[in-house]
Symmetry: C2
Subunit: 312 residues, 2 copies
């Protein structure tokens, strides 16, 4: 059976950084990526990246290209199109599948860099909107959304913060939530409810997103019959803020996770299993998620594992 | 009196990252740097930087140029040649001196990014050697030191690890320490002592480093009379590994520090004073120190402070 000292699952910025550092420190390391290309969530960034110190890029793809170039130049070992089917933490083995072929790989240390996924509405027109690049950041895209009618979908902090941030620049902001209860912090809710520029619609679900070249309207259905049963609302942009979920299915029940699903780690990113580490969005709340902190975590974990391997 | 929401002391990678992120998040922020240029310890890196994901540079100066370019393009506010004389944590004020002029600046949150300094031997020829760029990394410069005679000065982990790493490539390795007791971990010491390629000299001090265009020899003085009293040793390279000390003089007694002098912080880099944060080498052990983890810490602290400022 193939053995590596360090096996990294996930090829986003956290995994790429860990692999570069393992190589730099002379550690025998292999990175596995399920998709056909390395980069992870970099493919979902359609705006200019201005917050990775020393390097500004037009968008996530450009950052992906630079990171992968670095990774490949360093001769880091990796496999794409390779899905991890199962982690057996007792025998320290993972079962992987590439095309039709299954294989087992044995590790000394495992680094989970599996990232997180945005929760989606699952309605017609949503994926087309994303594929067209109509994905906005409330904090960075104020200018782009100036004078527009914007719908923000969700009931958590990010939805309310987004509504608040955009209310000063957008023409109209709708905050649409399927329930009457909000997960967001009370002071966020108060600030939005008291803001005359934001219309809050509760008990309301988005059932479709319309538009060919760009979003033009959304269909709504409300449980609140006093208000309206179903209607079409003209909007220029939709921000889906249903939250993100860490990709931790593979490790569920095998290491400690917090209530929000994140893998619990200590300051060197070790999980409750001393041979399993987690970095990036699999263990970082969305508030602190960033390319630079993911890269920093990849560095720390590689340096820590290097010190353990040197001791033995 | 001038007031800023966030005052950053120190313009190395950690401080630069924090400032870029503060700007990105719309925080009123000012960075102070004592030297005439931003960059901090980047000026001490003479090797290729291969471990900052996405960006490889020839040396620290090139990395400094890219980081400062980014910082300046983002219109981050800063002052160089500005020495902080005193931090009054009760009134949340710092006293600074620029040229002859003293000034007070009031902060809501203070970020210490003061870095660390390499301890030096303080002997003739040392500074000239450093200025010539004869500064090596035991882990990265194996090739450069192949077949050479190398002296490593120090008694801690990094000295012993360096000796071990280089013994396989250098022609001869001397490990020179002024005492007979070592701070290094026992297994590191054992590995070096049992390595026939490494000559360990204890009770021995380096009194001078010779060489015009490059190091050619060092002068030694030994307390151990059985061995030799003083002698000149021909070497091609000297690695000074006396350890680093965090630059924490300004804050001594005002926030909690660990025995190694590092500022103690929690996972969002808050110190024992809730209005004072520390990032980079002022709070990170040398083992985990890196450009990428410093940049990551700058991100985390700015995001955290942003969430605090938004709440109020």
């Amino acid at each position: 059976m193939r053995h590596v000292d360090v096996l990294i699952i996930g090829g986003g910025p956290a995994g790429i950084s860990a692999a570069i550092w393992c190589k730099r420190l002379g550690i025998d390391c292999l990175l596995l990526e399920e998709q056909s290309q390395l980069g992870g969530q970099l493919f979902n960034i359609f705006n200019e990246i201005i917050d990775y110190p020393g390097m500004r890029t037009k968008n996530g793809i450009e950052m992906q290209r630079e990171m992968v170039k670095h990774f490949v130049e360093m001769d880091c070992l990796y496999e794409v199109n390779t899905k991890v089917l199962f982690i057996d933490e007792r025998s320290k083995t993972v079962k992987v599948k590439k095309q039709a072929k299954e294989q087992e790989i044995c590790y000394t240390y495992l680094i989970l860099a599996t990232g997180s996924s945005q929760r989606k509405l699952g309605v017609p027109g949503e994926q087309q909107m994303i594929d067209r690049g109509e994905v906005y950041s409330a904090s960075a895209d104020g200018e782009r959304l100036k004078g527009k009618t914007v719908a923000i979908i969700g009931g958590g902090d990010r939805a309310f913060e987004g509504a608040h941030l955009l209310s000063s620049q957008a023409r109209e902001v709708y905050l649409i939530h399927r329930s009457t209860r909000f997960k967001a912090r009370e002071q966020y809710v108060e600030r939005v409810v008291s803001n005359p520029g934001i219309k809050v619609m509760t008990d309301t679900e988005v059932t479709a997103i319309h538009g060919d070249r760009h979003v033009t309207s959304i269909d709504l259905e409300s449980k609140n019959e006093e208000c309206y049963k179903s209607k079409n609302l003209l909007v220029d942009a939709v921000l889906i803020r249903l939250g993100v979920a860490p990709n931790v299915e593979l490790i569920k029940g095998k290491v400690a996770t917090a209530q929000n699903g994140l893998i619990v780690t200590d300051e060197v990113h070790q999980s409750s299993n001393p041979f399993i580490y987690a970095i990036g969005d699999a263990c970082t709340t969305p508030l602190f998620s960033s390319i630079s902190s993911s890269a920093g975590q990849g560095t720390i974990v590689a340096k820590h594992i290097s010190s353990l391997l040197t001791e033995t």
